[in-house]
Amino acid sequence: MLLYAVVAADANAPETRGLNGHRLETIRSAFAAVIVEECSEGLGATGDESRAFAEIICNLAATTSMLPIRFPTMLPTRSAVLAQLQANEAAWRRRLTELEGFSEVVIRAQEAETDDEFGTAPASSGTTYLLNRAAVIHRREASVADISELVSTWAREIKVLRPQQGVRLACLVADADIPQLRDAVTTWQQARSGRQAVVSGPWPVFSFVGDEEAVSS
């Protein structure tokens, strides 16, 4: 079984087919349910499959509060899915309630003088290399602090993601507040020449499913 998302116990799987061409199904317990698809063969987890999975998750998130499950998570049988659900449903249900009406947005920002990784200027020595690297890391930390303060009005939780061409922050934001956050980031970007900032989303709450969901069975 390929697992898609944790939803409320009374939610239904959408009338759609999954990656393997089978209809999505709902496996229920008392307080939560898991959207799954019959999937007897392994998945390659290619870019196309990841993208298709993401589309299904985004469509699902548009209709109900949900916790996306990391792709590709597979369990061998329905009873194995049910066992996981029953072992974790209290924590999952609690987090579902907390996250209702919230989405994730990702802010990616880069300053003009911030190099892709550790400086583009050739390092004449090991010391120079380390100093360049430290400077880049300090600039990134300053950007993270700056953006965190900027969005603190709207972001209930913030997680710093691995840098990719600049810093990236995932923010948990109430759906109604997303336009204000976007406007604030745009204004922040325009305040300094050469600064770039992009807000992507809203996405399902991939980065905020909580730590308690990984409770062992």
Binding site: L161, Q164, G166, S200, W203, V209, S217
Partner: protein, 68 residues
């Protein structure tokens, strides 16, 4: 070399962020497996069924923590 970073495309950034979160975020299921022969339990394995980008796993191991 120019100081100006490469101009980002909103569409490309959105796609990269989405795929990154699909395989790097989300609920992590844990489980256990007992390997046995002829009905005798021999080996117990505690599992976290996770697929994560290799660089995140390496970074997480280096830091002694978990990936985002």
């Amino acid at each position: 070399m120019s100081d100006a970073p490469e101009k980002w495309s909103d569409t490309q950034v959105a796609l990269v962020d989405l795929i990154d979160r699909v395989i790097g975020g989300g609920v992590v299921i844990t489980g256990e497996v007992v390997l046995g022969v002829a009905g005798v339990d021999l080996v117990y394995l505690g599992l976290q069924l996770v697929l994560a980008p290799a660089h995140e796993v390496e970074q997480s191991v280096a830091l002694g923590g978990r990936s985002a």
